[in-house]
Subunit: 155 residues, 2 copies
Amino acid sequence: MRLTTKGRYAVTAMLDLAINSSDSPVNLTEISERQAISLSYLEQLFAKLRRRKLVRSIRGPGGGYMLNATTDEISVANIINAVNESMDISRCEGRANCQDGQQCLTHNLWVDLSNRINSFLDDITIGQLIRQNEEQRKLRANQNDNHKIELNTIA
Amino acid sequence: MRLTTKGRYAVTAMLDLAINSSDSPVNLTEISERQAISLSYLEQLFAKLRRRKLVRSIRGPGGGYMLNATTDEISVANIINAVNESMDISRCEGRANCQDGQQCLTHNLWVDLSNRINSFLDDITIGQLIRQNEEQRKLRANQNDNHKIELNTIA
DNA sequence: AAATTACTTGAGTAAAATACTTGGTTATTA
DNA sequence: TAATAACCAAGTATTTTACTCAAGTAATTT
């Protein structure tokens, strides 16, 4: 599991797609403009997302991309792993003394941690993120309303 | 929060330090050899770790580095943030329409997620990782013993 | 005090990853 | 058939990573 700006671009683009897609597809030019990511870079990212079946494409005019599953079926880990295909190969792979040596105690510790991060991000879906943000927005809106009412009452 | 091989090197080195330090300091040459990380790269990483007060150095013969806090006071997030100093600047920073525009809805979603990842890794200390691994090792050892006993009994 | 050891610092560099550009092609729709 | 948008490939500038080399500084030992 790696977490770089590349993964962030992919998550951002997928969130944009999720938010802006109704029943009609969203084309990459729109996402490119909204999110300030170059079109061809988006093309590269979406080629990988499509290979992992996270999105499906519709060609021709009016075409674009659609999510290939519900927002609650697509995890952040799914997206990040899709665009970071090149596996992180461990250093000590192939070494004879790997299993028992001290260098591999720490290696195992890293693998454990890496797995924990992965399963953490696998439990966060883009649906969750969007709903959570929506609720926070509502909360803030209510607080503002209350504040206005208070002020009005005082005045 | 970024999670790259650089952060992994730092976490690995800190775990090595935690495991191999008694009351005397551990020098970077040892860590370099055990973990197969070049000495000068370790030097750069430890300069940053020292700036963040995660380790302290003892110079001169017999010198080296020691943890500057207990293993339970040092989180994985501490280590990773120490070596990845350059803050991830958000794309839309400074843009006028950032707060309300659609591009910043997704930006906020990303920031929320980033915060969640950060606090997740801030709750994992290197002490935890080491103890957890030790317990797993014991479990496996016991299972092996039981297996041997079973085999012996059968035979 | 001199020599040694070992950490410290900085400049420079090769290799890799990132982000993008260019220039196409193929499929679909109007 | 003309416009649109996905698809594809090759190439490139920039940044980051990981490292080398060299000079400097501090602490210890003899």
